[in-house]
C-alpha cells in the first residue's frame, strides 16, 4: 500500500531522492599524502596541497579509486573505465583552493540499484544514478570567538564518494530503509564506516510532493542531515510544509534548506542567496582517470559476501526465516559471530540464543559485537553443555549471566559453582519423596483431581535441588510417585 499524506485538497504523494556523501576509508587523502584519519589536532593532518599553497598540485590515491570501484560493484553499478575530474568553483572559508576537485560530467560509477526490505516484508528497488569521487572540505568553527570563525583544514581533501539515488523513494520509511541498506553495504565493503554522528556519512535530501498521476513538481534540498532518523523526520516535515504551501495557493520555490530536529521542521538556508554558478571545467592539473578492466575484475573477485547474498545463504543453509536472517546479517561482525556459533550446532538454537539473551546482554552492558564480553566460542560451549545435558535451560541462563560478568568459559563456571545438572535418579527420588512427604495434603488434593498442583511439586523439587535437577527425570519421578 503506497504511502500518502492527506491534505485539504486531496491525497498527496512524496517524491524523494537522496545524495549521500560517504567518506572513503583510506590512510591518506584523495589528492594529497596527508592523513585521512578522523580527528587529530587542528591542522595537523594538512599538507601544503590541502592548504592550497601556491604551486601545489594534486596526485590521486589509488586506494580511494579502488574503494569507489568496490562500492560501485557492491551497488551492481556500471564501472566507467574512463572518467574525469572537474573543478567546482566557489568561495568559502573551508575551501582553500577556491574550488573543489569533483567529477561532474564523467563520474567513475554509473547506474546501479539498492534493494530494500520494508517492515511489511515487501521489497523495493531504489535506483542509483551515479557515484563519483570528490574532495571533502575543511571545517569552520563558528562558536569559538564572538567575532571570528576558526578554520581547521584536517578534513580538507579527504576522499568522498557522492552517491546519488534516483527519485524513486516514496515515503520516510523507504528513505530510512535505503540509507540503512546503503550504509550496511558500505560497511560490508569496508569502503566507508557509515558513522553519521562523526560525519563520515551525510545525506542531502531532495523532497517534492505531487498528486497521484502528476509529473514531478518543484523540489527542495535539505542539506547535511546527519542521522537516518532525522532523514526520515525531515522527509515528512518537508513534505508537509510543501503540501501546505501548495494548498494555500502558493508555489514551492526551489531552495536549499536545513532540518531543525528540535522543532521538527526545515528552514531556508540564509547564506545561499542565489544559485551558485560553479563554472565546472576539467581540472587541468589532472589527466583522465583510466581504469584497467583486469584491475576492476581483480577487485570484484576479492569483494566480501554482501548482505543480500549472505541473508539468502543463511536462510538456505541454516534454515532461518528471512526476518531472523536479516537481523543476524545486519553487521558483518554479527554474521561472522553467528556462523562461528552455529558451526556444528543446532542453527536455530544458536540463533535464538544470539537474538535473545546475547543481544540483550550487549545492550545492557553497552557493548558491541566487536568487544563482546562473551566470545562466540564460549557461547557455543554453553550451547553444547545444554545439548549434552550437563546443565538445564534454567541453569544455562544463570551460567550465561556469569559469563557476561567475568568473560570466563561456561565449563569453568559450571564446575566452580557446582551447577552440573543432577541426573542421578536415586538423588531425584530422594528429593521427590521428601517433597511429597512434606506436602501430604497437596498430594491428596492432586490425587483428588487438582492436576495443576503438579507444577507446584516440580517447583518444590527443583528448589530442594537448587535448580539442578534434570527436568525430564524430575517429571518422570514425580509422575511415577504420584500415580
Amino acid at each position: 500500500m503506497a504511502y500518502t499524506l492527506e491534505g485539504s485538497t486531496g491525497t498527496w504523494e512524496i517524491v524523494c531522492g537522496l545524495e549521500v556523501h560517504a567518506q572513503v576509508i583510506s590512510h591518506s587523502k584523495l589528492f594529497s599524502g596527508a592523513s585521512a584519519e578522523y580527528g587529530g589536532e587542528p591542522n595537523a593532518h594538512v599538507s601544503f596541497v590541502d592548504a592550497a599553497f601556491p604551486g601545489m598540485l594534486p596526485v590521486i590515491n589509488r586506494e580511494c579509486v579502488a574503494q569507489a570501484v568496490r562500492t560501485g560493484l557492491g551497488l551492481d553499478a556500471k564501472i566507467n573505465l574512463w572518467s574525469r575530474f572537474d573543478r567546482k568553483n566557489y568561495f568559502y572559508a573551508d575551501l582553500p583552493q577556491g574550488y573543489q576537485i569533483s567529477q561532474f560530467a564523467h563520474p567513475i560509477v554509473g547506474e546501479g540499484v539498492v534493494e530494500v526490505t520494508l517492515a511489511d516484508g515487501s521489497t523495493k528497488e531504489i535506483g542509483v544514478t551515479r557515484l563519483h569521487l570528490e574532495q571533502d572540505a575543511g571545517k569552520s568553527l563558528h562558536d569559538q570567538d564572538p567575532t571570528k570563525s576558526f578554520i581547521d583544514l584536517n578534513r580538507s581533501g579527504v576522499a568522498l564518494m557522492e552517491i546519488v539515488s534516483e527519485p524513486d523513494i516514496r515515503s520516510p520509511e523507504e528513505a530510512g530503509a535505503y540509507l540503512t541498506k546503503l550504509r550496511q553495504i558500505l560497511r560490508y565493503l569496508g569502503t566507508c564506516d557509515g558513522n553519521m554522528d562523526e560525519g563520515s556519512m551525510r545525506a542531502d535530501v531532495n523532497v517534492s510532493v505531487r498528486k497521484a498521476g502528476e509529473e514531478f513538481r518543484t523540489r527542495c534540498e535539505i542539506k547535511n542531515v546527519n542521522s537516518i532518523r532525522f532523514v526520515m523526520l525531515a522527509v515528512e516535515a518537508e513534505a508537509k510544509r510543501q503540501i501546505m504551501v501548495w494548498e494555500d495557493g502558493g508555489e514551492v520555490t526551489q531552495e536549499t534548506r536545513l532540518f531543525d530536529p528540535t522543532r521538527n521542521e526545515t528552514r531556508s538556508m540564509r547564506s545561499k542567496e542565489d544559485a551558485h554558478d560553479y563554472r565546472y571545467f576539467p581540472d587541468p592539473d589532472l589527466l583522465p582517470l583510466i581504469l584497467d578492466q583486469d584491475w576492476v575484475n581483480g577487485l570484484k573477485a576479492l569483494l566480501p559476501e554482501l548482505p543480500d547474498a549472505k541473508t539468502a545463504r543463511f536462510v538456505a543453509d541454516y534454515g532461518l526465516n528471512a526476518y531472523d536472517a536479516r537481523i543476524l546479517v545486519m553487521e558483518q561482525a554479527t554474521a561472522d559471530f553467528y556462523e562461528t556459533l552455529a558451526r556444528g550446532r543446532d542453527a536455530k538454537l544458536a540463533a535464538n540464543w544470539m537474538m535473545g539473551d546475547f543481544f540483550a546482554a550487549l545492550n545492557r552492558t553497552g557493548r558491541s559485537i566487536e568487544n563482546s564480553p562473551v566470545s562466540a566460542a564460549n557461547l557455543g560451549a554453553l550451547i553444547d553443555l545444554i545439548a549434552d545435558n550437563t546443565i538445564n535451560g534454567r541453569i544455562a541462563k544463570e551460567v550465561f549471566e556469569a559469563m557476561v560478568e567475568t568473560g570466563d568459559a561456561p565449563g569453568a563456571i559450571v564446575e566452580a559453582k557446582g551447577l552440573r545438572q543432577v541426573t542421578d535418579t536415586g538423588a531425584i527420588d530422594t528429593a521427590v519423596d521428601a517433597v511429597l512427604a512434606a506436602n501430604a495434603d497437596k498430594v491428596a488434593q492432586f490425587k483428588g483431581g487438582a492436576e495443576k498442583l503438579f507444577g507446584f511439586f516440580v517447583g518444590q523439587v527443583m528448589k530442594a535441588m537448587a535448580g539442578k535437577g534434570n527436568p525430564a527425570l524430575v517429571n518422570e519421578a514425580l509422575k511415577r510417585k504420584l500415580s
Binding site: 601544503f48 592548504a51 592550497a52 599553497f53 601556491p54 604551486g55 601545489m56 598540485l57 594534486p58 596526485v59 590521486i60 573543478r87 568553483n89 568561495f91 568559502y92 572559508a93 582553500p96 583552493q97 577556491g98 574550488y99 570563525s149 578554520i151 554558478d277 563554472r279 565546472y280 571545467f281 587541468p284 592539473d285 589532472l286 589527466l287
Partner: protein
C-alpha cells in the same frame, strides 16, 4: 669575469681557474651596480649566494662537481624558494615566504647552482612587457641607437631575460605560458627555450594556466640553455602532468648539426604588416640551415591565426580558478573586511593589479553558466585543431623555423592603451604552447635601430634534442656577438 658563458665558467670552475666565490661576488656586484636602473631583481640574496658559492668551492676542491656547481643564476620570482620571499610579481604575495622548494629549483640546488636572487616578472606571469609587476617595470639593457628611452625586456620573464642580458646572472629560470620565455629572450638578445609540456615539473611554480605553463631556462647561448634544461628537467611524481621520460643529453645534441634534417616554414607565420627586417632575418635563417645541409620545406599550419584568441580564452579561464586561492586567509596580504565576502573582495581587489583582474574576469565569464560551450569548450576544440596542424606537419619535417616576435623590443608605456595590442606580441609563440611543443628563441640579427631580433625553432613533443641541434647550427651561422649598452663588464 663576465666574458664567461655558463659552459665556459663551468669548465673554469672545474679547472679551479676561478673560484665560485669570485664568480658570485662579481655577479652580486653587478646586481648592486645595475639593478637600480634595470630592476631585474625583486629580491636580492647576496649572503645566501655567497654561502652557496662557498659550499660549491668546498665541493670543487674535493673534485666533486654537479652539473652546475658554483654557477650563479637568477630565479624567476614565480618559483617558490624555501625561506626566500616569493611574490609572483604581485602585492598579494608580498609577505609570502614559502616553506617548501619548487622541484625545478631543488633540482638546480641539487646540481650545485648558486641563487643570486628572485627575478622580476609580469604579475602572475600575465604579460608581455614586464610592465605589470607590482615591483616596478624592468628596463631592457638594450636601447635603440642614439635613443636612450627605456624599452621593455618583454614578458612575463622580463627580469630573467634582462638579468642574463645585462650580465647580472649567468643564466636564469623562467616560465612560458604563451611566450613568456621566448619573447623576452628575443627582445633581450639571448636564448630561451620552453620545453615540451610535462618535461619540467610544475610543482612549486605559482600556477597561471595549468595546461600551458612550462618552466625553462634563459641564458646567453644555446649550449648554456641545454645545460640548464638538463638540470631543470625530469619526472616528478608530485606533478600529475609530469612526463615519465628520461632526460636526454641536451648539451650533446647541440653538436649534432642539421645534415639531412627537414625544416618546415609555415606560411601562415608570414603576417600582414610584419617588419621587412624580420622577413629578411627569417630568410637568412633558412639559408643558413640550407647551407648546413638541411632541406627547407614549405608547410601549412592553417589554424595559426586562431592561436591567440584560443589562448586568451583558455589561459584566463584556468587562471581565474588557479588564482581563487589568493584570498588573504592562509598566506599573503590581507585587507580588512566586515564579513568573509568583504574580506575576499577587498583583499583581491587591493592585491591584484589591473591586468590580472581583467584576465580573472574574462576567465570567470567564459566559464560561467551559458557561456562555457561557446567559449571554453570551443576554444579547446580549436586547440585540438591547432595541435593536429602541427602533428600532420611533423610527419614530413623534423622542426619548424619561424620568427620569434613580430617586432623588436618596444618602449615602456607603448601598447598600454588597449590590452589587445599587447596580446598581439605573442602571435608566433602562443600556438606552440597550445600544442605543448618545445620551442626555442635565439638572437640572429639586429634591426635598423640596433635592437636584437630572434628566430624561433619548434620541435616535436619531447624532441628538444632536434630543437637544440637546429638552434645551435643557426647560432654558429649567425655569429651574433652584439651586446647591450647596459651590462656588467662593459
Amino acid at each position: 669575469m663576465f666574458e664567461y658563458t655558463l659552459a665556459t665558467a663551468r669548465d673554469a670552475l672545474r679547472a679551479r681557474k676561478i673560484s665560485a666565490r669570485e664568480l658570485t661576488t662579481a655577479y652580486s656586484g653587478a646586481i648592486s651596480a645595475l639593478n637600480p636602473e634595470i630592476n631585474a631583481y625583486i629580491t636580492e640574496t647576496p649572503e645566501l649566494a655567497l654561502a652557496q658559492a662557498d659550499a660549491a668551492d668546498a665541493a670543487l676542491a674535493k673534485g666533486e662537481h654537479g652539473a652546475l656547481t658554483g654557477i650563479p643564476l637568477a630565479i624567476k620570482d614565480l618559483f617558490c624558494t624555501k625561506g626566500v620571499r616569493t611574490t609572483a610579481g604581485s602585492k598579494i604575495l608580498s609577505p609570502f615566504i614559502p616553506p617548501y622548494e619548487s622541484t625545478v629549483t631543488a633540482n638546480l640546488l641539487r646540481d650545485g647552482a648558486v641563487f643570486l636572487g628572485k627575478a622580476n616578472l609580469d604579475e602572475f606571469a600575465m604579460g608581455s612587457s614586464n610592465m605589470t609587476s607590482a615591483y616596478g617595470a624592468v628596463t631592457n639593457p638594450w636601447t635603440r641607437h642614439g635613443d636612450n628611452r627605456p624599452l621593455v625586456p618583454g614578458g612575463s620573464s622580463g627580469g630573467s631575460a634582462a638579468a642574463v642580458a645585462a650580465r647580472m646572472a649567468l643564466g636564469a629560470t623562467a616560465t612560458d605560458t604563451g611566450g613568456s620565455i621566448r619573447q623576452p629572450a628575443a627582445f633581450c638578445g639571448i636564448v630561451g627555450i620552453k620545453p615540451t609540456y610535462g618535461r619540467c615539473s610544475r610543482w612549486g611554480v605559482v600556477a597561471f594556466a595549468s595546461s600551458l605553463d612550462q618552466a625553462g631556462p634563459v641564458a646567453r647561448t644555446v649550449e648554456d640553455c641545454a645545460i640548464l634544461l638538463g638540470s631543470m628537467a625530469g619526472f616528478d611524481p608530485k606533478d600529475s602532468t609530469s612526463a615519465d621520460m628520461p632526460v636526454p643529453d641536451f648539451a650533446a645534441a647541440c653538436k649534432r648539426g642539421v645534415k639531412g634534417l627537414r625544416i618546415g616554414v609555415p606560411r601562415e607565420y608570414r603576417m600582414e604588416g610584419m617588419a621587412p627586417e624580420i622577413e629578411a632575418l627569417w630568410q637568412q635563417g633558412l639559408a643558413w640551415l640550407r647551407d648546413a645541409g638541411a632541406t627547407i620545406v614549405d608547410v601549412s599550419l592553417p589554424h595559426t591565426k586562431y592561436g591567440l584568441a584560443t589562448y586568451y580564452i583558455v589561459a584566463p579561464a584556468e587562471a581565474s580558478s588557479n588564482l581563487a586561492r589568493y584570498d588573504g586567509v592562509r598566506y599573503g596580504a590581507r585587507s580588512a573586511g566586515h564579513d568573509l565576502t568583504e574580506l575576499y573582495e577587498n583583499t583581491r581587489a587591493d592585491g591584484f593589479g589591473a591586468e590580472v583582474k581583467r584576465r580573472i574576469m574574462i576567465g570567470t565569464y567564459v566559464l560561467s553558466a551559458g557561456y562555457y560551450d561557446a567559449y571554453y569548450l570551443k576554444a579547446q576544440k580549436v586547440r585540438a585543431l591547432i595541435l593536429k596542424d602541427f602533428t600532420d606537419v611533423f610527419r614530413d619535417v623534423d622542426a619548424l623555423l619561424t620568427p620569434a616576435t613580430p617586432t623588436a623590443a618596444f618602449g615602456q608605456g607603448e601598447k598600454m592603451d588597449d590590452p589587445v595590442t599587447m596580446y598581439l606580441n605573442d602571435v608566433f609563440t602562443v600556438p606552440v604552447n597550445m600544442a605543448g611543443l618545445p620551442g626555442l628563441a635565439l638572437p640572429t640579427g639586429l634591426d635598423a635601430t640596433g635592437l636584437p631580433l630572434g628566430l624561433q625553432v619548434i620541435g616535436r613533443p619531447f624532441d628538444e634534442e632536434t630543437v637544440f641541434a637546429v638552434s645551435a647550427a643557426l647560432e654558429r651561422a649567425a655569429g651574433f656577438t652584439a651586446l647591450p649598452t647596459h651590462r656588467a663588464g662593459a
